[in-house]
């Protein structure tokens, strides 16, 4: 069985200009206390290809997401930058959000204004705001070049090879087989059992091992 090779088309230079939406999140005061979010949003508005730019209370909240989704539909946005917390936290959230209104999830980019800006430069609000502008600008220039990506599926052979027939291999093989999966169990010695087969009584129960 050959898995199909996945061939993707290369990026053809875009004819049409892209339409980017930028959302600068306050995270309550987590970001807004240090970074001037309105100023960052206003700065982003002036960047090339940015169609909409807003600051927003809590981007990840239900109303926050709704607002972004409404904008995507209303302004026909095809790229989104969420400037909020770490993508390691909310990237899945916002990917799902854009996907739910028909945008490819890989056309969303985040700028990390919380973990890597407001929280670590609390005494320097101006420098933090300057850094936030840079981070948003970087994200905008990246998102402009992002391309839609598709997850592919490949067939999965529903059989498992278990190497070693000691107690661990035996247990794994039986659990799988009892769940209806085929198992190939390979043991190098003439019998399964492993170390345990040599023990009589075993701790902690002190009963026979086999």
């Amino acid at each position: 069985m050959e898995a199909k090779m996945v061939v993707r088309k290369r990026h053809e230079p875009e004819k049409e200009a892209v339409r980017i939406g930028v959302y600068v999140c306050h995270c309550g005061l987590n970001i807004a206390k240090t970074v001037d979010c309105e100023k960052v949003a206003a700065f982003a508005e002036g960047l090339e290809d940015v169609t909409v730019s807003k600051d927003i209370g809590y981007a990840c909240s239900e109303p926050g997401q709704q607002q972004i989704k409404d904008d995507i539909l209303e302004h026909n946005l095809d790229r989104v930058v969420v400037a909020s917390c770490s993508p390691r936290l909310h990237e899945p959230t916002f990917r799902q959000m854009v996907q739910s209104v028909g945008l490819n999830p890989y056309l969303m980019e985040m700028a990390n204004l919380r973990e890597q800006c407001s929280w670590v430069h609390m005494q320097e609000p101006e420098a933090a705001t300057r850094k936030a502008c840079d981070l948003v600008k970087m994200s905008v220039s990246r998102v402009r070049l992002l391309e839609p990506l598709k997850e592919d599926t490949i067939p999965m052979t529903q059989r498992t090879l278990v190497i070693g027939g000691g107690i661990a291999g035996i247990q794994a093989a039986l659990d799988l087989a009892d769940n209806g999966y085929d198992v190939v169990l390979v043991e190098k010695s003439p019998t399964i059992g492993g170390m345990m087969a040599q023990l009589d009584k075993t701790f902690p129960t002190m009963d026979c091992s086999i």
């Binding site: 059989r159 498992t160 070693g164 000691g166 661990a168 799988l176």
Partner: protein, 594 residues
């Protein structure tokens, strides 16, 4: 065990080893070598007539040579499969004219001297590695005199001696005179917790196994004198402390300190010298028998499998899991899982728990009959590829095939590609595009950053799994550091192309930091080795061009090292301040002319 032999869904190959694995998750082609048994596994009823007829007598390895068996034998009564097996090296009968006594004795005609080794091909979607342990051989520890004195045994030999199914039917006897010993000593941590011999790790089960043995002895022989020599007793599991207490209550003496020497006295008695570390006194103990609680080692085939499947090992030589806390049974290679002592020393309960966990993880990716591949993979632009083969050599997952001799361009197996981007960074002809982290996408970010006031800024490349996470952790911990750094996230530091660095300096960056996971912790097996090599190479070129190499820094920062991240940022800031506008101008001039 017998359930395995009977289960309609389990195909059991004994006397077999995996010799080759090709493919990737969902579709592994496995080559298995099955050695000839010379007895028909399905037909043999284990009646034993053949063994009675066999004239060859050999020590029985299952009983560690403490009893004997024939050249045709059953490993032990409960063996699965139960069929007899011929050890060809011992058998006289390969030429039936010479012997073939067993063949004549078998009414069912199960014995076939013409059987030969077989090669079997299987296709599977997932693999569980459960190759277990090997016990430590204490011969090298001469102070315990294992190879010199017969009454010094390993704990495994001792297990066979007190086993009701063993060579003595469970009677404990001394090997030298076959009499029941009056006193027995146990030595703990043999081959464990030592930097000199064996492993430096704790083997986890030997303390409890010794406690178990003392209880069994006290049950049979209440008057026997039993002493345990130990460093400290590790009875951490459920119900363990209770057994330890019971053993002490029954009069077993626990003496803190390991023997320095063992000597043989008259009548094969043993004299053990120890420094009791509780009292700091040298003590002599006379014993009839000494049992060495030997530790565990990784199975001998570990390294072969590691290479075959592209797995990783810990410094101890056991298999390394994808994440020690959150993915304890997954290998970093997708579709491969661990169970039992293959992953590290553990007892039966833990082995079984881990095996069930591995089965659940297997089902999790197998149940749909298909799996999704990550779209963040690399791809080759065939027209640009010169078939040099570099990319295939650097890929930690063997995901790239290229025929250098016949000049067939590289192709990426997207199911196997994990998306580190090392190949894209290493290809000299820009023939590889890393999806979602293309050269243009990354350089567009650094351009946006360095367009204005570059001298004020620190360009940082951080890998997703460690250093970017470490930066996040610094934030979560509210550590304060200078606000000049801006991070560009890549999945792996291996993605950071030389040209990103040159481009950054050309754009006027005063300093640049490349950061990734510590060597050995790379999320992409060992892709960060290439980062290290690359940075060294760039450093050399910088020196040639008259650019101070300190302006390019390489740091390994783990996801937990928020403090370290903040420190590195502070250091980068002081490096930045040292770079003068003239120096930057000169660098830009040199690189633009280049």
């Amino acid at each position: 065990m017998t359930d395995v032999g009977r289960h309609p869904r389990i195909k059991l190959y004994t006397m077999s080893e995996v010799v080759d694995v090709k493919g990737y998750v969902g579709n592994f082609d496995v080559r298995i070598l099955k050695k000839a048994r010379y007895v028909d596994e399905k037909e043999c009823t284990a009646c034993g007539e053949c063994a009675n007829a066999c004239p060859v007598i050999r020590p029985d390895e299952f009983n560690l040579g403490l009893s004997s068996r024939r050249a045709i034998y059953s490993p032990f009564p409960q063996a699965v499969p139960s069929a007899y097996v011929i050890n060809v090296n011992e058998c006289l009968g390969h030429n039936p004219v010479v012997c073939a006594k067993c063949k004549d004795a078998c009414d069912k005609e199960c014995i076939d001297f013409h059987m030969s080794d077989e090669e079997i091909l299987e296709n599977v979607g997932t693999i569980v590695v459960a190759t277990g342990l090997e016990v430590y051989d204490p011969t090298e520890m001469d102070e315990y005199a294992y190879s010199r004195f017969e009454n010094v045994l390993t704990s495994v030999e001792f297990e066979r001696l007190i086993n009701a199914g063993g060579p003595t039917k469970g009677e404990l006897v001394r090997p030298t005179d076959r009499k029941t010993p009056e006193s027995v000593g146990f030595v703990q941590c043999v081959g464990s917790r030592s930097v000199r011999k064996g492993g430096s790790y704790c083997s986890n089960t030997c303390c409890m196994n010794t406690i178990k043995s003392t209880l069994m002895l006290k049950e049979h022989y209440p008057d026997m004198e039993i002493k345990v020599f130990y460093i400290d007793i590790r009875a951490f599991g459920k119900g363990f402390e209770e057994l330890y207490t019971r053993s002490r209550r029954l009069g077993v003496k626990y003496i803190r300190g390991l023997p320095g020497t063992v000597q043989e006295k008259s009548e094969k008695g043993l004299r053990v010298a120890i420094e009791n570390t509780s009292t700091s006194k040298l003590e002599m103990h006379d014993l009839d028998m000494l049992v060495l609680a030997v530790g565990m080692k990784p199975a001998s085939s570990t390294q072969k499998l590691q290479e075959m499947l592209g797995l990783q090992l810990t410094p101890d030589g056991f298999f390394l899991e994808a994440h020690p806390k959150l993915q304890p049974v997954d290998a970093a290679t997708r579709g491969v899982f661990y169970a039992g002592c293959a992953e590290g020393p553990k007892d039966i309960k833990e082995s079984v728990t881990q095996a069930s966990a591995a089965a659940a993880r297997v089902i999790r990716i197998m149940h749909k009959g298909e799996i999704t591949t990550e779209p963040i993979t690399s791809m080759v632009i065939e027209e640009k590829c010169k078939s040099c083969g570099i990319c295939a050599g650097v890929c930690p997952y063997n995901a790239i095939t290229v025929d250098v001799k016949r000049k067939i361009p590289a192709s990426v197996n997207t199911a196997a590609c994990a998306g580190c981007g090392t190949c894209a960074a290493e290809c000299k002809f820009d023939a590889i595009v890393m999806n979602h982290f293309t050269d243009e996408q990354i350089m567009n970010q650094s351009h946006a950053l360095l367009e204005t006031e570059p001298q004020e800024k620190i360009l940082v490349f951080a890998c997703n799994w460690c250093s970017y996470a470490g930066a996040d952790y610094a934030g979560v911990s509210r550590l304060q550091y200078p606000p000049n750094a801006r991070l560009i996230r890549t999945m792996c530091s291996g993605r950071v192309d030389e040209k990103f660095i040159w481009d950054g300096f050309r754009m006027g960056a005063p300093v640049i930091l490349v950061s990734g996971c510590h060597i050995g912790d790379c999320h992409y097996i060992d892709a960060n080795h290439w980062t290290e090599k690359r940075v060294k190479k760039v450093h050399k070129k910088m020196i040639k061009l008259g650019i101070r190499p300190e302006r390019l820094q390489l740091e390994w920062i783990s996801a937990a090292e928020g403090v370290r991240f903040a420190e590195v940022m502070t250091r980068m800031e002081s490096l930045r301040k040292d770079v003068t506008p003239d120096e930057i101008d000169e660098t830009v001039r040199v690189l633009t002319a280049d």
